[in-house]
């Protein structure tokens, strides 16, 4: 599949930055040249050992980071050199992200966190709250709408993060370990929800070692294997 036809496409991207090495010593992470295409409507699961660059790859796919070399394509457009404002706009309209450590605005309530990307779009507070509560209800969190994120358990926080990523019905969902903090039952419901999303046409990219998230994948990327 060509870069133009792919929903997201990385072409021989590399990325290196300072990172703690073994034993906490100063070290350097280096992502070897990687090419990856995400097809519309597909489910891609990225797996691999710790430190192989899974999250770095996801950040590059989301436009949260820029490669040292190589090209990044989003929705048929080369975005390697586009200004950060244009990338933000693309993300807001078409990309939902679940971060590895969730990352919430701690001073805001759960529903405000879930709907925060809608603030600059001019959607009224009433409508934002309604949409957030509807989504929270889907994840069994209707009771938590008015609470602060830190008051919730890890599993609940993970579902809030998922709800936040889906608030504006994105074309693609990028999720870093979306079932790592939930119990098996909740994990199964998350997988089932993602499958239903995919059936509706949402493209799914997840980082996970969870077999439940590997099985439905139409593509699997093992970061431990040599890159093409």
């Amino acid at each position: 599949m060509s870069a133009r036809d792919a929903l997201l496409h990385l072409d021989q991207v590399t990325r290196s930055y300072a990172a703690p090495g073994p034993g906490g010593r100063a070290g350097r992470f280096e992502l070897a040249p990687t090419t990856l295409s995400i097809e519309p409507g597909s489910w891609t699961t990225i797996s691999g050992r710790s430190g192989t660059g899974k999250t770095t790859l996801l950040n590059l796919l989301a436009g949260l980071d820029r490669p040292d070399s190589g090209r990044v394509w989003m929705f048929g457009r080369d975005v390697t050199d586009v200004p950060s404002g244009a990338l933000s706009e693309l993300r807001r309209r078409r990309v939902g992200i679940v971060y590895q450590d969730f990352i919430f605005l701690e001073h805001l309530s759960v529903w405000q966190n879930v709907s925060c990307r809608l603030v600059p779009t001019g959607v009224s507070a009433g409508e934002r709250r309604e949409r957030a509560e509807e989504l929270l209800d889907t994840f069994g969190l209707a009771h938590a709408a008015m609470r602060r994120p830190r008051e919730l358990s890890g599993g609940e926080q993970q579902r809030v993060a998922l709800a936040r990523a889906l608030i504006d019905e994105p074309d693609v969902l990028l999720a870093d370990e979306p079932t790592s903090s939930v119990d098996a039952r909740t994990g199964a419901s998350v997988v089932s929800f993602l499958e239903s999303l995919r059936k509706k046409g949402t493209t799914i990219v997840v980082i996970s070692h969870d077999p439940a998230l590997m099985d439905p994948a139409s593509h699997r990327v093992d970061m431990d294997e040599p890159r093409p």
């Binding site: 949260l64 980071d65 933000s88 993300r91 309209r93 992200i97 805001l108 925060c116 600059p120 001019g122």
Partner: protein, 384 residues
């Protein structure tokens, strides 16, 4: 509501939420600013009030003030010369005055000797009565408070001679500041106390409208040792005097505000770590740099409104209710550190407006640049 307006409304609501949630941090960061602005507003209000009151006194006073020249300086005028002024064409009234310093109990006071029949013409607000004869005096409200005297008490004034008077009334504290520590007595009695029966401090000359300049020239022709000051000239002195004090005070306030900018910048910078992550998240969620900057600018606007409002409220309480402790004496050196009397003040709309603009400038300078720097970094770095 249009989409653009709704967007601004949403960002304003988000800014208000942020300010409310971080109120304690903002109050700490803005405290230096509030202090500086309070000082500035208080100083400007007192300076303006003192100037207005002084100018009102000048306006209600004589058309010409005549003193005597001795060795190139102001000196008392021979009484015989003062009596000649009444004959100058255009002059309708001449009021000789003796103004000096006298001690009442442990307090220094300004002793003013004037023909007492003139007092009734000036509608002086008095608790008690105007002096009914040369053995009675009026004293200012602050002097009465400090010495514990009240209407009906007897006082002794000692100078060249010792005189005993009865206090007929207290000049109201709502009256002019200049009367607060004054003792007003009959001209001849003041002359006896100071041992100066042939001379007076100066003479207030009232003329017919339009005759001020002509009368002034005629007085100087009468004797070139007369020093004549017109009302305009006195107004100029008053204006320059208060403006100079206001200027010195404003410079000190400006210094405080410069320190406030520095402290605000440092404190908001110290608070930037959690904000860096917050801004990174907003950018990752699709907020544009403009959205982030607008929200932070609106937060600053709200903090500025709060700071300027607090400063104005503190100034009003400080000057109007507490009588400007500590700063009052900077404008009126005769005041104690903690005055108990009314301090003249005028709160005009311009200083609070300037305070608001200054406040906005300080808060923006303290945060917009750091926010912009964070907003343009890669979200992944801001989120680390």
């Amino acid at each position: 509501m249009s989409g653009s307006l709704a967007r601004h409304g949403n960002l304003l609501a988000a800014a208000a939420e942020n300010v409310a949630c971080n109120a304690r941090g903002y109050v700490v960061a803005a405290s230096g600013l509030i202090l500086g602005l309070s000082l500035l507003l208080s100083g400007v209000a007192i300076g303006e009030g003192v100037k207005r009151e002084a100018l009102d006194s000048v306006q209600a006073g004589a058309d010409l003030y005549c003193s005597w020249d001795a060795f190139g300086r102001d000196a008392p005028v021979p009484l015989a010369r003062v009596e000649q002024l009444s004959s100058i064409p255009g002059v309708v009234q001449v009021v000789p005055r003796i103004i000096g310093r006298a001690r009442l109990a442990s307090e220094w006071a300004v002793l003013v000797g004037v023909p007492l029949e003139r007092l009734a013409e000036h509608q002086v607000p008095v608790q008690g009565a105007l002096p009914g004869g040369p053995a009675e005096v009026l004293i200012g409200a602050e002097l009465a408070r400090l010495t514990g005297y009240s209407a009906g008490d007897s006082i002794t004034l000692e100078g060249h001679s010792v005189r005993v008077f009865r206090i007929s009334g207290i000049v109201s504290s709502s009256s002019s500041l200049w009367s607060a520590k004054a003792i007003v007595c009959e001209l001849e009695e003041a002359a006896v106390i100071f041992g100066e029966k042939e001379r007076v401090s100066d003479a207030c000359v009232y003329t017919r409208p339009g005759y001020e300049a002509l009368a002034g020239e005629a007085i100087e022709r009468l004797d070139d040792r007369f020093r004549v000051q017109t009302r305009d000239l006195v107004e100029g002195y008053v204006g320059r005097g208060t403006t100079l004090r206001e200027g010195v005070f404003s410079a000190l306030s400006a210094l405080t505000l410069v320190l406030a900018i520095a402290s605000f910048a440092v404190l908001t910078y110290l608070g930037k770590s959690p904000r860096r992550r917050e801004i990174g998240l907003l950018k990752a969620e699709g907020w544009s740099t403009t959205d982030v900057l607008e929200m932070v600018a609106l937060e600053n606007l709200l903090v500025s409104l709060f700071s300027a409002g607090c400063a104005l409220a503190i100034s009003l309480v400080w000057v109007r209710l507490l009588h400007a402790p500590l700063i009052g004496p900077l404008f009126l050196p005769e005041l104690p550190t903690f005055p108990s009397m009314r301090i003249p003040s005028a709160f005009t709309p311009l200083p609070p407006l300037l305070a608001l603009i200054f406040s906005i400038t300080v808060t923006m300078a303290g945060s917009i640049y750091t926010t912009w720097r964070t907003a343009i970094t890669r979200p992944v770095e801001a989120l680390r």
